[in-house]
Subunit: 366 residues, 2 copies
Amino acid sequence: MQDRLQQLINIFQKEKLDALIVSSIPNIIYLTFLSGFSKDEREAFLFITKNEKYILTDGRYSEAVKSKVPDFKLIEISSKISFEEALKTLVRKHNIKRLGFDGDNISFLEHKKLSRLLNDLNHFTLGRLRTIKSATEIIAIEKACNLGDKTFKFILGKIKKGVSEKELTFEIEFFIKKHGSDISFPPIVAFGKNSSVPHHVPTNNKLTNNQIVLLDFGVKYKNYCSDMTRTVFFGKPTIEQKRMYETVLLAQQKAIEFLSGKSDKEYPMQRILLGKNVDKVARDYIISKGYSSIPHSVGHGIGLEVHEAPHISPNSKDILKEGMVFSIEPGIYIPGFGGVRIEDLVVLEKNGPRLLTHSPKRIIEI
Amino acid sequence: MQDRLQQLINIFQKEKLDALIVSSIPNIIYLTFLSGFSKDEREAFLFITKNEKYILTDGRYSEAVKSKVPDFKLIEISSKISFEEALKTLVRKHNIKRLGFDGDNISFLEHKKLSRLLNDLNHFTLGRLRTIKSATEIIAIEKACNLGDKTFKFILGKIKKGVSEKELTFEIEFFIKKHGSDISFPPIVAFGKNSSVPHHVPTNNKLTNNQIVLLDFGVKYKNYCSDMTRTVFFGKPTIEQKRMYETVLLAQQKAIEFLSGKSDKEYPMQRILLGKNVDKVARDYIISKGYSSIPHSVGHGIGLEVHEAPHISPNSKDILKEGMVFSIEPGIYIPGFGGVRIEDLVVLEKNGPRLLTHSPKRIIEI
C-alpha cells in the first residue's frame, strides 16, 4: 500500500500538484484495500498530500476505516459537515495551491462545487495508475480465472435440452458464490441466434437441439476480476458454424502469437507493442475471411474493474507492457443466425504472454 | 413511454433548450425500457429534440435497439464514428443552439469534450424526472416488495447456530433469483456487534447464541427496486437490546404517522410536507431517548435506482408529493455492542402513506 501511495505522490509531484482528490471506487480500493463503498453513490474521497493522507466518509463507515486503515486520518462527513466543507478545510490547512482530481470520475456538477474551493483545479487521469499489476495482483486475477475455468467445466454439465438462458446464468452465479467468490459482471448466456448479440441479456428462452451456446462470465476474487467466453454447440455444429468457430479461434491465436513476437514474418517486429496493432491482427483476419468487422474491441485491460486500461481497440494509443493483464476476445456475429466469441485473459511477462484462463478451446459438442 | 418523453420535452422547452443529451442509465431505461447497458461504462446516449429522438450506441446493441425501440433513430458508434462526432453531426443537423446535459452524470472530461461541440452547453438535472411514480411503476415496486417479504419469511428459517453472514446473504440472493428477480443491491447480513456498522460487508463470522441479526436487502423486479431491513434476535434479547428495538420501531412509526398528518398535535400541520421534517421526527425521537443521532438519512426515494430523489435527510429541500415512493429507516448503532434498523417502503397516496413492505415488526426471537 505504501508503494502505491508513493507512486501516486510521485505522479502528482511530477505534475506540480500539491494534493490530489481520489474519488473513483477502484482507485480507493487500490490505495486503501477498503471495499465496502457503493459504486453508485458518492460515499468517500481520499485527500492525499505529500505528507498526509485523509479519508473523508460518513458515519456508516467510521468503524471500518478506524479498524482497517488506521494510517489514514478519518474525516467524518455528516449533515453538519459536507464533503465540500471538509475539503475546503483541508485545502486551507495544507495551504494547497494546485489540487488534482480524477477528471473521468468527478461529475460536471461536482467539479462546479469543487471549483468554488480553489481556482487552480487540475484534472488528472488516474486510470493509468493500475495498469501494471504487481505479483500479488496477478495471483488474485489468476485465482479468479481458475474458479472461472472450474465454473465452465461445471456449467457444461448443466447444458441440457429445455434449460433456459436465465437458469444457466443463475447456475454460474450460484457456483461462483458457493465457492466464496463473487461474479465480476452479470453472466451472459445466449442460445441460438441470441448469440449474435454481443451483450445479450439472458432470457427465459429454452435450449433446443442444434443451437449455439455462448457463455461469457467472470469471477471477482478479493476484488480482482476475471473474464472469459466460450462458445459451445448443443448438437452437431453445421459447416458454417464450424467455419465461424475456427476463424474466431485462429484470430485469437494470431493475436496471442503477435504478443509473443513469434509472428514477426507477418507483422514487422515492433519494439513498441501497441494495443491497436494487437486489435488489428485479430480484426483483419476475421475480415479477410469474409466476415464483418468485430463490433467491439478485441481486448481490454482487467483488474479491480472488469474493463480498465490498457485498451486493445482500433483507436487505442496504449503501449502494452510487462505486468499488464488483458483479454483477447475476437468474435463473429451474424444477425438472425448466431455468433461465436472466444475470450481468454493474458498477462504480459518478460518472455511473452501467459494465458491465465485454461478452459479448452477445441470445438465442444454437447 | 410517449408521456415520459413528452414530460421531458416540456421540461427542456421550459428551460429554453433546443435539445437534450440523456446519459444516465436509469434515465435511458426510463425513456426507452432498454436495460442491457453497462452502468460502469459509457455505452449509450439519447439525443432528444422536440421532434426527433435518437439513440447512440455501438454495434453490440444494434439488434436490441432495432427490435425493441424502433421509434428511436439508431446512430451506430464505432471506431470510425465516436460519440462526440455523432453528437456534433446531430447538433449541426438540427441547428441546436442550446443543448442540455445531465450535470450529475457527465464527467468533467466528457463535459470538456462536449463543450468543443457547442458553446452554449447547459447542465440540467434530470434526477427529478422520475420522482413521481406512475401506477405501473408502483405496481412493479410493490411486486419487488412482495418478493422481499417472502424472502424475509424464508430467511428466518435459515437463521441457525453456526450459519455465517455470507451464507445467509447467499441464501437471500439465491431465493430472489430462483423466483426470477434480481437483487437490487448486495444484501447486508450482520451478526452481533457487526450490526452497529450500518453498511457492514458480510463476513464468514458464524452465528452464536444471543446475537442480533440485522438483514437489509432488496429485490429488483422489472428494473424496479425494493429495499427493506429487519433486525431479529437469535436468543432472548437483553433489556437494552429490547429498548433499542422499541425506540427504533417507535421512531419509524412516528415518521410514518407524520406523513399521514395524524400527528398534527406534535408537529404543526403542514400543507407542504418536507423531506427534512420527516427525517427530523424520527431522528429527534431517537436522540430524545438518549441515543446518538442516526449516522445516515432517515429515508430515500427508490425506483429504477435503489437510492434516488426525494431525499429524506436533515438538509433535504425536497417536498414529498403524491406518487412518491421512499424508505423510512431509522436506526440506532452502538459501536462494539450492536445496532438495530427497521426499514419499510412507503408510497404517498391521496389519503396518506401506504406501506409496500409488510413483514412483521414485532420483536422476533429465533
